[in-house]
Symmetry: C2
Subunit: 92 residues, 2 copies
């Protein structure tokens, strides 16, 4: 594990708008683990959601971060030191 003085943060937030992508990009650079709720945006603007998800995949790729869906509501982004283990992602 990391030293206590420099922990990894796990941050759970809601994406409400494409403008949220900027701060998410910063968090990805800081190697945070992100759990992003996309439901409010999905309900309001599917096209904007599509763009947000596309950008997040690009940012994650640049940062060698892993990205995965968590059910219908959320997306996980994990830095390269964290491996996402998915027994049932595609089921739920």
């Amino acid at each position: 594990m990391q030293k206590q003085e420099n922990p990894t943060y796990l941050k759970a937030i809601t994406i409400r708008d494409i403008s949220d992508v900027h701060s998410i990009r910063e968090d990805i650079k800081k190697e945070m683990i992100l759990i992003l709720r996309v439901t409010p945006l999905a309900q309001r603007d599917v096209e904007q959601l599509r763009k947000v998800v596309e950008e997040l995949y690009a940012v994650a790729k640049d940062a060698s971060a892993e990205i995965a869906r968590l059910g219908e509501e959320r997306i996980i982004i994990a830095p390269s030191g964290i491996k996402i283990w998915r027994p049932e992602y595609d089921l739920k």
Copy 2:
């Protein structure tokens, strides 16, 4: 970050039964990050869910792991090297 040879795992699974607590306890000892979906059990047996959650809080405490709700559907358990940052946990 950790060395690549020894990554931290993030595992997203569904708790279906109190018997699942055994393997979850092992995963907590291995310092995995766990995202546990509790909805199916919540729908089937609220009393059993209560017991499961109680046990998980006890196991997490013993392991100095952090535990938090993620919306209505999920529980996060993070080992001591990971800090859960919660801007809106109690909102959603």
